[in-house]
Symmetry: C2
């Protein structure tokens, strides 16, 4: 094992430019799942992955999850890529999940360079859409398998992949495919690695043992039959945008406190043991400020910030659909507007309760306004939170492999994001789940100038091989 | 005069399909001034107009108003088309203003048909972008001149045109050109007709003797250096969109009452004489409801609605720039957002005062929020209101010509929209100004499915000739 790992590590060190070039090739495919015009690129990405796997000698197939309604059209969902390398009953079956779709990105949003051309900066950043979320992970795993093959090292586990193309759009179709394949292609999975998270600090790896759920709502306020001229109808007609502004303003305070009555009632109580874990953090308030470009933090100390990221709910207002959104000064009265917001949920908040009290609150606030406009509160999607334990065997293994590669044990934290599919794998495959990060919180996932530090990419690949070894001897 | 008018009216009746076809040709040029990619089409429209004028034997020239900054680029402003037909010192010099640019339009906004393909519907609507605002007027004037030429009727006035291509984008450059040409091409103008307004009812023509000004503001709230993932930073970072929602909500009530202290202080007091004019209206509450597709009116009776359209200020929230605006459910925390709103002003509100009390109010509301985000209130543009008298000679003339063509005297009303250039012509040319409408309030200017009723187009052209005759004998 030691000898094999040395060989692997040397290979990675000697071939870093090649490894980066493979990530560049993947980033160049603009596989944006939310954009109907980019859907063919998502399919192209799936074919690209399957072809690489097949070349390495893995069994691979594309599973069709069916269709979806998108922007008024019925469109084909991108396939789930399923793959297996090795079928030895003496070995552990380890399933790795990544996603090959990315968030939308256009250069004019403020990117330094073309978002779909991965650029290596002097400071070590690999800048490009999906570099960190989630193509860095996915390509890292492909390159790990490739390195085993090239070096002639026998893989000490059976390595299964499940790569989806709809993660950034609600993972539509994944649940059904995993359920269908649980007793077929995915039968006998011992451990599931979800490779789609990030370190909590820049200097120390992190293992998430909790995730927040996401409950996404749209406040639809409609009035006149069509948009109006604000000169002709301003002062005469009740304006949906005025109503919406007041409803959005009623949701949450500038201090982050959610105004929906009962929203905090089901939140898990803080134990002394859990509280201690936050105090061990190597993250500083300065780290957070740096990633924000200034002090825009709601909390005075980093421990409180970590708790509000991981163990308390939050409410974000994302934007407004249907109103004027461009630069310039259009004199329109929008006829129908949709205010989008979401609530991140934590143990033990119940989705049905969240939906009920949220809709009731908005309807009550709306009645107070005494408006002639129509209101509909739409629950766009609800994803469950996830909670695990740092004492699981798979977590013990990763503690060892991380110590070997990064020279330090990971911090165990509860993450703020949502990976709804964590629940799917845990429940359908009855396997323990590991949330394995490659990049850091500062990578700008979903944002402009998303990056993955070259250090994290290269060491991340080494770590994948180290983890494979640790899992094989569990 | 009677004989010539009969000839003209018969020609118009006999050639209505030809006249509509000429409007269709103009609508087909998507001369959207707000969109940098459409700027060449605005220039094409100007060339198209000049070429038609020259063919009719008019003197015509394109005046270059210089450049502007648009969407980060320096671009050429569309030309002002100046034209003169006739130079007889015994005749009155009558100047007609129209604009040849249009509001943006894309079919997916909810148009029944391609917005740049004028379609004649069975119910008599001519549907297309600019049909009513303002290509119907402009083409109507060109066709009026053409008819005089074709019929060999001597024009009893000297007819001057001033057509601009930036009206929908703040008339940038027009003021300077009119000032430059006041003692040259536009020297000696007796009357100015601004042909860019609409009837207040469907059945009775309207003459506007007042217009509201427009004061357009942007509330710029900025926070973190880049957009963030709401999972990773929700609950941790202060969100600009939360701050903006509260500021927008603080501006105006659902009942239309503006919350800015002092905003009503300078509004002209209502006299008994003025109040009487509103009670004479033929507009009904039902008319207004029909154009809105339901009862979304703020006022209980139509007299109050007309007052709030014409003689009281209003505040409209147009939308938000920088936030998520698409369909779907993007989990972004927008880093910087701009809330757009505008205040329609009336006599005797002073622009400097409006700006001062508006900015002060928003800054005060912002301080109350105690946010770490940055605020800047930007005054994007301010256009002055306009106020005239129904007893002006030019208004007496149009009362006669309208009675002849439409069989009824016009209603004199104060309009809700803003035509900032009204002030420019009045002040620079020292001429009385007439606001002459062709279509109706229900045409959906600036909205989807903008239309001009064929009746209004055809009778409008007849009326142009009748007005020319009345002006010639003033």
């Amino acid at each position: 094992m030691e000898e094999n790992l040395s060989k692997f590590f040397n290979y990675v060190n000697d071939n870093s430019q090649y490894l980066v070039s493979q990530l560049r090739e993947a980033v160049a495919i603009p596989s944006v799942s939310a954009d109907i015009t980019k859907r063919p690129e998502v399919f192209r990405m799936a074919e690209w992955i399957k072809s690489r796997l097949t070349k390495l000698g893995a069994d691979a197939k594309l599973v069709d999850p069916g269709t979806q309604e998108l922007q008024g059209q019925t469109v084909q969902l991108p396939p789930i890529v399923l793959s297996r390398y090795g079928n030895d009953p003496q070995k552990k079956n380890v399933l790795v999940y990544c996603h090959y779709d990315v968030q939308p990105a256009v250069k004019s949003d403020g990117w330094e360079t073309d978002p779909f051309d991965l650029v290596e900066k002097e400071d070590g950043r690999l800048v490009g859409r999906g570099a960190s979320d989630d193509k860095g992970h996915l390509i890292g795993w492909l390159l790990t398998l490739e390195a085993f093959c090239k070096l002639g090292i026998e893989l000490p586990i059976n390595l299964l992949f499940c790569f989806e193309g709809m993660e950034e759009s609600g993972s539509v179709g994944l649940g059904k495919v995993v359920a269908d394949e649980a007793n077929k292609w995915l039968k006998g999975v011992d451990y599931t690695i979800i490779s789609d998270s990030s370190w909590n600090t820049k200097s120390k790896p992190t293992i998430g043992y909790g995730l927040r759920g996401n409950n996404y709502f749209s406040i639809d306020v409609s009035g006149p039959v069509a948009d109006l001229h604000s000169g002709v109808f301003g002062g005469v007609v009740q304006e949906p945008m005025v109503v919406l502004s007041k409803l959005l303003a009623s949701l949450v305070g500038v201090d982050g406190k959610i105004n929906i009555p009962g929203i905090y009632d089901q939140v898990m109580e803080l134990t002394e043991e859990e509280e201690k874990t936050y105090h061990k953090t190597s993250l500083t308030r300065e780290d957070l400020e740096n990633s924000l470009g200034g002090d825009y933090l709601m909390q005075k100390d980093v421990v409180q910030s970590l708790m509000h990221r991981g163990r308390y709910p939050s409410l974000t207002i994302h934007g407004v659909e249907g109103a004027f959104y461009d630069s310039g000064s259009k004199t329109v009265i929008p006829a129908s507007v949709k205010g989008k917001f979401s609530i991140r949920s934590v143990p033990y908040m119940d989705p049905a309760t969240i939906k009920k009290i949220t809709v009731e609150y908005i309807e009550k606030e709306f009645r107070k306004l005494n408006s002639k406009c129509k209101l509909e509160v739409v629950t766009m999607r609800q994803g469950m939170w996830w909670y695990s334990s740092p004492n699981l065997r798979i977590n013990v293994a990763v503690t060892k492999s991380m110590k070997r590669v990064y020279g330090t044990e990971p911090e165990y934290v509860r993450g703020g994001g949502s990976v709804p599919i964590t629940m799917i794998f845990e429940e359908q495959l009855k396997s323990d789940v590991l949330l394995l990060p490659m990049g850091t919180y500062a990578d700008g996932a979903h944002s402009t100038n998303e990056k993955l530090d070259k250090y994290n990419f290269i060491e991340g690949i080494k770590h994948f091989s180290a983890l494979i070894h640790e899992l094989s001897v569990l």
